[in-house]
Symmetry: C4
Subunit: 318 residues, 4 copies
């Protein structure tokens, strides 16, 4: 095994523990590959979390279903009081009493209140007064949820599909490289990247997982205007100096990437994560430019070309 | 008394003052055990603070009571103007004039406005116009409060029930340990922990309270994916090196824990606090694993097992 | 003049410029004593700023006036179309056509829409459709403003009325001290304080203003549970070592205080400012305790006693 | 070429890449001069971004158009169901069935619901119930958008129109200077400035772009109360020590400015950017004061005079 043991610092664990793994901890899309048992399902915060992070179609469906369920609930109440306590249903051209109650409930919950159906009698009036208050509060919650969904800080980076082992001009040797760019319209400032190398190692006959933070050519930029090629130089100091593709496969080598940036549009710190596994590393390749200048001198960055690379000869390792 | 005096730095006070205490300053649930007198009850910020931090049942009750109180108030006004200025009450099947005024008020405040009861005359129309504006603003406030309640940054950690004096493999000696995990669905980054040891000491016949920040094996992790066992190694440098359970009890030893993390879902810094007292320390025990791998290799973390420990022999102190 | 010139670092200017002043730059309540000319009055941000920071009575009055003005505007339009295009005004017991139009407008703007008055004809219907949209948006704005006002991060500290020149036990000499405590219900973490001493100095016959950041016994605490007495020790290194009350008066000595903290309830960084002038310094006094323990051992902090001090003999300066 | 090559650090690239440019990367108003291709147009985040950052007239127009489009959509549905299913249209003095359906739709969407037109029959009632729910949600979205627009953190600085090569008293030599002040009503704390000098250089016959971060006399101030004159001293260490106007023009010299500050009113970090090109540099000039004291001693800062300068003789370069 070519991974240089002395270079590995036990303090470089990122909170992953030292269990041997058969799967990535951080998935390519940034989600975490750990299942937690015992999280209370109905806690307010977790419900809010789910409503904020679910996909839009699921969210709209949830809202629609909730609207119908609440109206069915109140319609049942009006029906049990007696449909005669809703005046005007005779002129509504709806013969089904439940539907009449349902439509009156909808008009009350949404506070549209046409009034062609109206409550009569003490009990129906109390229920309607209560329902309209519920409507107001439900509306308030929907407002909060929609704002929370829209305004949630999020970075969306496009990462290159592969990591490359490429010639690295600055040292005359090799470099481990990947590329990223901003998929959002906002301006990102103060980007910082942390890359961790993790691998299985056999210690005393037991396989454990080791972690090592890889030093980068540059780990910060002040403003991200184009794409950024992140480079870990494969110098003699690197634990990956003379690693081979077979070493990577045998040790289940994984590279975890944590990206942090400041979103200038909304003044929020945003984070992103991804990971590359041994089978996503290309040996002997270099990235091709993803931008060009037009006639006016304006720079165009083509986000679809972030992953493009071409073959390149690697310098020998002494 | 075995607490090593020279190790205690007067600068390690965390803003608690140096009064001898008979109670914890930080409770187990993180609240602060100091009563402040003279805080203005009706200041806007404190009212907002109370409405945001009160429990949900209390909040809903407050909203309901406020709704009824405001409607009673406006109903009284309509009644004093004369119920004859509300048209349509004859068809409402409600004989009590006050209830008729109340229901009309509710329909106005919630802007449902069926119109089967409607204001007539200049004064009733003015009051109704004003009440509907109040309704709009009350609705606006409810929206803000609900959003504020839902979106309030909060970390919810599960801390182990006990702190352990456990064997600590890295030094071959002992360690003071507790364990924590994330109870929320969100991903926590950049966790940092600060542990303070406080105890009573008799100086010149007067009992004062001393504070000491304990160095940790590791005080930061980049990402919390599993549980985290926080360790203060009981080396010779530690003020707790040769402390006994009796020392702890006599000095009312307390360990205050401050946790800080970055919530990746909502891009907010979150804090949590807890404390352990001398009677929550277990001597000679070690934590048992709280996670396991399923057949597919996926890691499962069982939050209900965070507090589980088993007996363990402690190495002797030289 | 006893202020030690060599101790003053020209780099300690806090962005105040070096003009001699006849007034404080930072007022006691934290506002800035500079008038800026040329700020655009009607910019969106400045309007929002004003609506968020104005006092509550002024805010409610603004909302009420806006509501009336918009309704008067739309009432005029309905009137110019012709009151006959509003059906139902005959039964409203209001003889004044303008008032009828006004009340209809209010019912439309607030979306209460009883319907006892309703638009008739194409133009009145268009205007009503437009007005109800305006009503929705105005409501939306009010919601945002109210939430912005409620949730605005703010620290409210009570600062002692005076700064004291007090005996300082730790050095056996004197200290310049003031005291502060938290007036809010929230918990404050990571407090940091910066104290700047500014004074007039005559250089080449011209009076200029000098600034000096004073080192503090402690400039940070992790958590503020009680009151905090901030101390600048008057050691030989201090530019104030042998200053006299006359020196302070003659040089218009001012002490500017910047406080920063983290509000744990709302996860926001909050700031506060204040200043003390030469005539608010008390020579030869010390603060009396502002807290006590009740029988149960619970600590009570009395915010009204933060300013309380008693006479104390000052040690001589060698 | 007088730009001192040895002073240029390849690590000072700010994420701009090293392409020779014919245009600024950062425009005077702070926007970025790079066109990105391949950003998904209809992503939620980018739509939100556009709605938040578009100008106010465009925003109001978008809202108005959306309101009309949705009402036209629902009016068509009511019409296709049959105008006879909307009761009360006969008394509405509107003969066009589409307009009647449109006005009913508007009354439903805005939840004003007068009720002089009301739905009749099962289908019309279902559509109305659904439309009022859509109205509630649309209202909720408008609320979120308006709040997002109002509360978006933003710094608005006025930068001097020109950078000056001015005499610099502190070194007795020259300085490169510009001036800025705060155009907002809020108080700015902890300002930090970063100035980057970029220029074209011919290396091996190929023109590349170099970047160099210029050290400043002062790069931070604690509080911005007046204007701030930012100075890069043209000492021998500066890469600009003996640069000439011709050098600047030939190398397309550009100065990029990044400003960061903490907005005390809304507790948010705000950023601003600008740039100066070679043709915006004035040689041999100095800024004239932009503030004055009135009789009461109050300082007045005149934002309109931030750019004002007068001729000044430059000291010779040895």
């Amino acid at each position: 095994m070519a991974i240089k043991k002395q270079a590995v610092n036990p303090e470089d664990d990122l909170g992953f523990g030292n269990q041997a793994v058969r799967q990535r901890i951080i998935n390519r899309n940034g989600s975490i590959n750990v299942k937690r048992l015992g999280i209370p399902f109905f806690s307010t915060t977790n419900t809010y979390h789910r409503l904020i992070t679910m996909r839009w179609p699921a969210f709209w469906l949830t809202v629609l279903v909730a609207y119908i369920v609440v109206n069915v609930f109140f319609a049942s109440i009006y029906l049990s009081i007696g449909i005669g306590n809703l005046h005007g249903t005779n002129d509504n051209n709806v013969s089904n009493p439940f539907l009449n109650a349902f439509f009156f409930s909808a008009q009350t919950l949404s506070t549209v209140g046409y009034g062609h159906i109206s409550p009569a009698g003490v009990i129906a009036n109390w229920v309607a007064a209560f329902e309209s208050m519920i409507g107001l509060l439900a509306f308030a919650m929907a407002t909060g949820l929609l704002y929370g969904r829209f305004s949630r800080p999020s970075a969306k980076f496009v990462f290159s599909d592969n990591m490359l082992i490429a010639p690295y001009a600055l040292t005359g040797g090799r470099g481990l490289m990947f590329r990223l760019a901003n998929m959002r319209l906002n301006v990102l400032l103060d980007l910082a990247i942390e890359m961790t190398f993790s691998f299985n190692e056999v210690v005393d006959g037991k396989t454990i997982r080791r972690f090592y933070t890889l030093p980068l050519e540059r780990s910060k930029v002040s403003i991200l205007t184009l794409s950024w090629t992140v480079v870990h130089p494969l110098t003699e100091d690197s634990p990956l100096y003379n690693i081979t593709p077979e070493d990577m496969k045998n040790s289940m080598a994984t590279f975890n990437i944590l990206v942090q940036a400041f979103d200038d549009t909304f003044s929020q710190t945003v984070h992103s994560r991804t990971s590359y596994q041994y089978d996503e590393i290309v040996w002997g390749a270099k990235f091709t430019p993803a931008f060009f200048h037009d006639e006016a001198g304006l720079v165009h960055l083509h986000l679809g070309k972030i992953s493009d690379f071409e073959q390149a000869d690697l310098p020998e390792i002494s």
